[in-house]
Symmetry: C2
Subunit: 430 residues, 2 copies
């Protein structure tokens, strides 16, 4: 009989236990920050109706990009981001929630495309949003960036520092209006700015679209945006908004943010400030998270106008890239086990089990070796291989005198003492 | 334009924030118990190759029961349990893992069948297993049951107590041999015992299969298994194994277990002791978890013989049933927010933001209300609706004198004091 394949499908991730512990630690820390900021966790279905996932007119395109299937008459598929489910959920629970409503998701999303390096078919994304009905102060924009900065900061020892770049849709809208660009020209220029760093000749490409007016766009990047403050009322307002936002970030202790009007954040639904986070040590990873303000989250689900500011964190993207390239020191995750309990002979098993029970009752991470007929050598080798910090060795003497022998696996030092003393020692060593 | 549906697909679950917090609390407690028992978390892909999920000869049957799809030439589907992925993963990492290897999964699984009450298409299941290469002491069977009992116990305040029933495959194998049943007869009787409680006339059904020998089977249930101890060497051994197991459970403090030879645990792969957990207060839910020993986890993936003892917990099944029937008091989860920060006027926002920053730095769960032009009445109403325990009110005087006014939302008592004092007070109130 042929054996079945043991590798996961390409584009799917599975980690070794030591890597998983690091992944989980970072996930927990980031989520803890969001909870401290009062974000409620939502755990929405991974499968949605096809009509929820997409508009019917782009069905063919979407079907190749997503995992879609049919049960009975119902077409459905795996979600590709957190926004669509959030829009549906909030629209269905307008009367159950208190607004401004703040929620986060830490969930798997799916892409059906052929996988490439750094692009997965199944990945964790963390989404956080503050949502208001009909209105939501711009002050929340700064707050959400400050929360996200704190979330990344909680993982600094593993992923290093981050820096934030802030762009503005209203600035460019005002600027395009000032230049008198048509709707089509505005759209074309928007796309060019979004791709700026990937273009060989940004100015040339701009000039092709809008001729001499391209010089003004270039000035924004060379001279800075402040020189345009007084060119129009809308520009004044857009620039003031950016400046106020930066001041609020500073008040909340965020020093690693700067205005970069090259940040466009592709999605059509953003209408206000947009922002992206980058890793200080691995800028080549590109934006590792970002978001912005939108004026209409759920127009397709509800007649109530839901305004929001939100962000998405490409959690797997960052963690898997760093783990695969061995950029994260895993020392801290090598030894999750405090003590191995070794039973020297079948007669000692009942005593070993009672010891184990006491250890776990005291919240001490403990693993027994219960193939008790194995030699001491094999058992201590197991304790060593799983990197347990201590071993508790139960022989016939220990059973007889109701004591344990505890061995420090680093120093090799051994001592015989009552279990309660051993537990006190282990609690202190935690 | 027609609005899109806001309800999830039938058979899919989504919770309100207060329910989600309870669900997550129980999930975390149970997982914490497994971590203390040294189980490594595995987070395996939800999508597997079709050939991994199923054998080719039962393809049609499986396709209706699961979510299956095709990308390019590859057929794949959503996993329906944790075992198949575990078998694949362990077979592919024999040299990366230390055996006995202990792992758990807390993951979503999927069933494509038409949903019924209490049966979901997407649900969380917790799987835990101890795996050995070629050998694994029976002592681990008692250990894993003790761990799982402790896991349920950690959620007692929400789900109540549990009781455990223990069955034995070796007992019945030995018994069928003693009775001289054919292979077909043994299989038929096995199935009848498994369905015993659902049959109107158990004895009659047995008699139809095996005639007068049915009386002996009935005796097992009426007279108890101990009376068969000396009937054969194999029975002696099977009964001794059960008795030893029960003694080991008692040593580890498990008092809510009893032998019930009607427990068969359907799956074909079990070869030793089997066990099921039931809720004391909601026996009608049926088995809420269970497992047993198997002699061949991964024969389809590897030539290495992997023996294990494992259990599966129907986590969503229990939690959703109890939450939907309002059997869990949610008081504890109503007020996750310690303090609301209310800004009385746009001029107070910078100060409010600095206060918020300090609160979060001190790990105090805090939500700001930043639509600062709203009246006091609206703002305090928000603090009340989200059930925050305290409010910090920032007005112009607070900004001027660098203090905060803190209001106890339960007593209505208000005091003005420096932020550092307020933080100390809130830390004590946690």
């Amino acid at each position: 009989m042929d054996l079945k394949p043991t590798k996961p499908l390409s584009g799917f991730i599975e980690l070794l236990p030591v890597q998983q512990r690091c992944f989980d630690e970072c996930a927990n820390r980031m989520q803890q920050v969001l909870k401290t900021a009062g974000f409620a966790r939502l755990d929405l279905p991974a499968i949605e109706r096809a009509e929820v996932l997409t508009d019917k007119d782009n069905w063919d395109e979407i079907e190749t990009q997503m995992f879609m299937f049919q049960k009975g008459d119902t077409k459905m598929g795996l979600r590709y981001d957190g926004t669509v489910g959030l829009a549906r959920y909030v629209s269905g629970h307008l009367n159950d929630l208190v607004f401004p409503f703040r929620a986060y998701q830490f969930a798997r999303n799916y892409r059906g495309e052929r996988p490439q390096k750094g692009r997965y078919r199944e990945f964790y994304q963390m989404d956080l949003d503050v949502l208001g009905i009909n209105e939501l102060s711009l002050n929340y924009d700064a707050e959400i960036v400050a929360v996200l900065a704190r979330a990344y900061e909680s993982c600094r020892e593993f992923i290093g520092g981050t820096n934030i770049r802030v762009g503005s849709r209203p600035f460019w809208n005002a600027f395009f209006e000032l230049l008198g660009l048509s709707k089509e020209q505005s759209k074309a220029v928007f796309i060019l700015i979004d791709k700026k760093d990937k273009l060989d000749d940004f100015q040339g490409a701009l000039a092709e679209e809008i001729g001499d007016k391209s010089i003004e766009i270039i000035k924004v990047f060379s001279d800075g945006y402040q020189s345009f403050l007084k060119k129009s009322v809308k520009l004044y307002s857009a620039i003031s908004e950016m400046d106020k936002f930066m001041e609020q970030l500073a008040i909340m202790g965020i020093k690693n943010a700067k205005i970069d009007l090259g940040i466009m954040r592709g999605h059509a639904y953003y209408t206000g400030l947009v922002f992206e986070f980058f890793l200080d040590d691995f800028p080549s990873l590109g934006a590792i998270g970002g978001g912005g303000r939108y004026e209409d989250l759920a127009g397709k689900f509800s007649k109530t106008k839901i305004i929001g500011v939100g962000a998405a964190v490409g959690f797997s993207r960052v963690m898997i890239a760093l783990l695969e390239d061995n950029k994260i020191k895993l020392d801290k995750f090598e030894s999750p086990v405090m003590v191995s309990v070794l039973a020297m002979g079948e007669n000692t098993v009942p005593f070993a089990m009672s010891v184990l029970s006491e250890l776990r009752g005291a919240d001490i991470v403990s693993i027994p070796y219960l193939d008790a007929d194995k030699k001491f050598k094999n058992q201590i080798e197991f304790a060593d291989k799983i990197n347990s910090k201590y071993s508790i060795i139960i022989g016939e003497d220990e059973v007889k005198y109701d004591t344990v022998t505890i061995k420090d696996m680093t120093t090799g030092k051994q001592q015989n003492l009552p279990l309660s003393d051993a537990i006190n020692m282990l609690k202190k060593a935690k």
